[in-house]
């Protein structure tokens, strides 16, 4: 399947992918949408990055998307790449997978036998491997809209538009001054997107504070498994994981307290 093509075509050029048949799904224009329905934001799989960046409902409910989109590749690439392709690529360094994981999203997979809804947890089964079977297609991403939400994405990259050295996606749902629920996911520090469940558990039921966020950062830093590579050694990446967790949670808490945030952005 090819949508934006900005993962598959580079892989084909590198001979990492050698498909016998490529099906272009760009004509399925009904799969490009962002709408509010049944207390969820529903995003069609063929929605492009620039549309996510410019979306008013997303900016209002989940400003984490605009945070992430501004640092995903560059505006010209964002005119083609899609959210469905980003998630289905199942690359551990990819940003939207962590965003959707932190927001407790689920995905809709369609096939000849109908549709099934799969949590982000179950969607990525390994590196570059998803729960999508043969003859199935990822068609929609669903994000529950809950009260008291605040969310933010924090990323460190070597140069503008690069893959993350480390990135952290954080979501908080406040009930008054108590964290009713928390979502935390990290990019580029494991074989797949790292869902920091132990840090989430720490956060639940507590009052937001710098000390709490530092503790959550320390746990996230322990629970990820970065590899040394050209982007840095392991201790540096663990340091970033802790620091970026603090920054994402701090910003998410500010946004949750402030309520709604300003509308869509145009950065094309």
């Amino acid at each position: 399947m090819i949508a934006g093509g900005h993962s598959l075509l580079p892989m084909m050029k590198l001979r990492l992918a050698n498909p016998e048949l490529v099906v272009d799904i760009n004509d399925l224009e009904h799969l490009a949408y962002i709408r509010e329905q049944d207390s969820e934001i529903r995003i069609g799989a063929l929605t492009r990055h620039y549309q996510l960046l410019e979306s008013e409902p997303l900016a209002r409910h989940f400003p984490i998307f605009a945070d992430a989109e501004r640092v995903i590749a560059d505006p010209v690439v964002r005119n083609r790449g899609t959210i469905g392709g980003s998630l289905a690529q199942a690359d551990a360094a990819e940003d939207l997978s962590a965003v959707c994981s932190a927001l407790k999203a689920s995905v809709v997979i369609a096939g000849g036998g109908g549709e099934r809804v799969v949590s982000m947890e179950d969607f990525h089964v390994g590196p570059y491997t998803t729960a999508i079977d043969d003859a199935e297609l990822l068609v929609e991403i669903r994000i529950p809209v809950r009260p008291g939400a605040g969310s933010a994405h924090a990323k460190v990259e070597r140069r503008a538009g690069d893959w993350a050295i480390v990135a952290v996606a954080g979501g908080l749902w406040l009930d008054g001054e108590t964290i009713a629920d928390a979502g935390l996911a990290l990019s580029a520090v494991g074989l797949t997107t790292v869902h920091a469940t132990r840090a989430e558990e720490l956060l639940r039921g507590k009052r937001p504070s710098e000390e709490l966020f530092a503790e959550a950062g320390a746990i996230a830093s322990e629970d990820c498994s970065p590899s040394p590579d050209g982007r840095g050694p392991v201790d540096y990446k663990r340091h970033l994981a802790g620091e970026l967790t603090k920054r994402a949670l701090r910003r998410a808490a500010e946004r949750a307290r402030a309520g709604t945030t300003p509308g869509g952005h145009t950065w094309r």
Partner: protein, 159 residues
């Protein structure tokens, strides 16, 4: 497979290998070599053309995916020998030296001004962040785009 792509208002039909990239289709068949083939990894932006008005990297689009879409290349910008204001701006402000990145820069900047006729320096730098220039250090390119914005504001562009 046979593919028909509308390039600069003209339908171009050709029998191609399915894996042919749009950048090669544009350069080979109608011979529009203004679109440059640079890094081939969607990093450098030399191959940017407009597809239905949006700038895209033509090294990362299959020619077959462009069937039925409107492609606009650098060759379509000047009309009857009169340069587009963005082209004129690159001339006035010395927005190029070797010229390799220029077609992609200009097609990216043209799309920016079509969407946002009065961009700030930051907005220009963001818009061209997917295009690499090894000569100018970008300052003259930013000035060139501002030149075009200011001159278009003074004298509205023909469509």
């Amino acid at each position: 497979m046979e593919v028909t792509i509308n390039i600069n208002g003209e339908p171009v039909t050709r029998e191609i290998e399915p894996a042919l990239l749009l950048v090669h289709f544009i350069r080979d068949t109608p011979g529009l070599t203004g679109t440059h083939w640079g890094c081939d990894t969607s990093n450098c932006g030399a191959c940017v053309v407009q597809m239905d008005g949006l700038p895209v990297k033509s090294c990362t689009v299959l020619a077959a995916m462009a069937e039925g879409h409107e492609i606009r290349t650098i060759e379509a910008l000047s009309i009857d020998g009169v340069l587009d204001p963005v082209q004129q701006g690159f001339h006035e402000e010395h927005g190029l030296q070797c010229g390799f990145c220029t077609p992609g820069m200009i097609m990216t900047a043209r799309a920016l001004l079509d969407a946002n006729p009065d961009p700030t320096e930051d907005e220009i730098r963001t818009a061209i962040s997917g295009a690499i220039c090894r000569c100018t250090g970008y300052s003259n390119i930013v000035r060139a785009v501002r030149w075009a914005a200011e001159h278009e504001a003074a004298q509205p562009r023909r469509s």
